[in-house]
Symmetry: C2
Subunit: 419 residues, 2 copies
């Protein structure tokens, strides 16, 4: 196989460890410099491929590449941009192939969630139909943990650890003060359709009586009367009540508790503000003093508290993607296989993109307690290993030493293109 260049792009919401995957891709490619030339990174994700804005990663020192492993955010830029339908917008896909051709790109690594898995699959199929030899490998990434087949998704373990630790810490605060002050604390967490992140809050305690006292999942229809009765019971029994609520909490008819009314580029509703909404109900129905927090981007960028397991897996899927491509695999995604629960053991597997694209994995009902407000033993068994281990970034003068790359763009060879 002749030596060819590679293209790597980050897609969708970034995570604390997506750059660890980038690090895995670039370091592994450098180890196979006989087969892979330069790794080009798309500036702002797939848009960079369409506009031919390719970042030359060959100018990065080994130390700079290594620093990606401990740097949150998307070092090359990411985007919320879904390629349009291939039937009606074939030119977009053809443009990608043109750009790949112009820069002798034979490997396409796309680092993202469900939507990008779908794009990766389509690009692979189009390349094949156009007779362009391309190895397209998807690299899993999503804090939402909602990709199928893989046991878990890189990015999730770190946000899970952040939410579990934050819940535990805030609960100690509230417990200290509840006799005379705040009795109800509400933490809003991410997870539009799947309650994985909310579930991670459950790791703060060991169940009954230990905070969080209530987890509100998007999978369990919200009933105001039931929830308020539980909160009231909890305050009467324990003196306080800690609630972790998913931004995607919704009523039985599917209406979100807090619907900001705007949609993102993928057509998903932009949510936010479910915590103050719930706090308002507590005030109105129960009259307890409350506080609420919305972690928002803090939770998915908190590299200072990443799970060592998550960092290792994010790196491993990046590395595996390159290995798979070099083995000639196409339209695949490296997965994380759990081979043992306690002690937790995992290895890298492989899935066909056709089994991944646009499929969302929800929390199994039996990971949630029968009453719908906590995690079951089975849920705990699944979640607990994912937050194991610490992987602190280096610090200097009290601050983590994250890297910000200078982006050296490759000279363009093609005419402009309006994506």
């Amino acid at each position: 196989m002749a030596k060819q260049n590679a293209f790597y792009a980050q897609s969708g919401g970034v995570t604390a460890v997506i750059n660890a995957s980038a690090c895995g891709v670039i370091e592994t490619a450098r180890q196979h410099s006989d087969q892979i030339g330069t790794v080009y990174a798309g500036r702002n994700g797939i848009i960079g491929a369409l506009t031919e804005e390719l970042i030359d990663t060959s100018v990065l020192s080994d130390a700079e590449v290594a620093a990606l492993r401990h740097t949150p955010g998307g070092a090359f830029g990411s985007c919320r941009y879904k390629l349009k339908d291939i039937e009606t917008h074939r030119s977009q896909y053809e443009r990608l192939i043109e750009v790949f051709k112009a820069h002798d790109i034979g490997y396409f690594f796309y680092n993202g969630g469900n939507d990008s898995a779908d794009t990766c699959l389509k690009v692979s199929q189009l390349a094949e139909s156009m007779g362009y030899p391309l190895k397209a490998v998807h690299i899993p990434k999503t804090v939402d943990n909602d990709l199928p087949v893989t046991d878990n998704c890189p990015g999730f373990g770190s946000v899970a650890k952040y939410i579990a630790v934050s819940t535990k810490e805030a609960a100690l605060d509230i417990e200290s003060m509840c006799a005379t002050s705040t009795k109800v604390f509400i933490l809003e967490v991410m997870g539009r359709h799947a309650g994985w992140i909310a579930a991670a809050g459950g790791l703060a305690g060991r169940g009954e009586g230990e905070p969080p006292h209530l987890i509100i999942f998007p999978e369990i229809p919200f009933d105001r009367g039931t929830v308020m009765a539980r909160v009231d019971d909890c305050v009467k029994k324990y003196g306080y009540c800690v609630i972790v609520i998913s931004e995607g909490a919704r009523y039985a008819d599917g209406t979100f508790l807090a619907d900001a009314g705007t949609t993102d580029a993928f057509g998903h509703k932009q949510l936010g503000g479910v915590a103050p909404t719930l706090a308002g109900m507590v005030k109105q129905d129960l009259g307890y003093k409350y506080h609420w927090a919305v972690a928002d981007y803090l939770q998915r960028s908190a590299r200072h508290l990443s799970s060592a397991t998550d960092v290792a897996q994010a790196y491993a899927v990046g590395k595996a993607a390159v290995k798979l491509a070099l083995e000639g695999k196409n339209s695949v995604m490296p997965t994380i296989l759990r081979t043992n629960d306690a002690p937790y053991q995992w290895e890298i597997g492989e899935a066909c993109l056709s089994d991944i694209a646009n499929v969302e994995k929800f929390m199994p009902r039996d990971y949630i307690t029968p009453d719908g407000f906590g995690i079951s033993a089975l849920g705990r068994q699944y979640l607990a290993p994912l937050i194991q281990g610490e992987d602190f970034p280096p610090y200097k003068d009290g601050m983590p030493q994250y890297i910000r790359l200078q982006h050296k763009l490759v000279s363009r060879k093609l005419p402009d293109f309006q994506p």
Copy 2:
């Protein structure tokens, strides 16, 4: 001096390091067991003294006491409860002295902010007027950093580090995505009247062009037009805008941007929700896509990210309080004296409570840039040392190992009292 017992109580909002002060008190008292008998801790702060609910700390193992150093929240319970006016409610103060007398308490250590410094002073004065020998020492604690005389307050350094790191991490996230997604990010931080915590966000960057692009201080009157123009300029220039805003942000007439309309036990207005309020202005005036976070209790309980400097100082003021009392000092507070800026050096000083009680320290205007939206070189010089060093708690199974004490109450000797 005959051997007497000590009383220790936590007051007001707890912090990530108030227990480190408790640890300093108890460990130091144990080292002077010839002079100090048992350290009793007030259950839920000063209320525990009024109701004669005294926690016997002598049953705690040395390891349990040592674990307080790395445990957030208030291990003995704190309270928002201000003793009433001594002229009209003298019986409250007399009750305290009765309880102290009944349990042979000769040392009173009160760990809190402005309000508790005032209480500590009054108790000391009353004891003297009643001829009861009491050494009353206040131990500084407040995330708001608004106590006078002392260079800084234990509790502040850790929240400062949390806000600086969180701002830096979130900014990397937003920068990654701003080409196609969120352009304005707003982080709401604590600090009712003083902008110290908001200022700490400034440590995330080095100034001009580096996030946070705007800090909104309670000390600088909020002008919607000016702020929106700055946000717009920033997005046009850098592609995105990161804003750290104090919960106490207010208009020129003193009205808070977000006034929840409720007050706490001290009569302070309970704030919250300034971030969504500002986000609404961004949406209405500029139309940019925004996200907002409210860190709330997460910021003051984040022991996982404490400043090692802060932990050391919190411990040191607890230790110094005992030393001062043993030297026969009364109505005093150990302070932190900055003896050098770079390298940062500090030592423990001493202040009279009459100089501390009910005095609030605001951000000096020259710590803020002339335009009112950032920290000056002077401000940076003051703040930077306070976040230095990491002091990670021990972890097990991915979670910090915080201690929750069993409270063994001492047998009551007095009739009931309704505080």
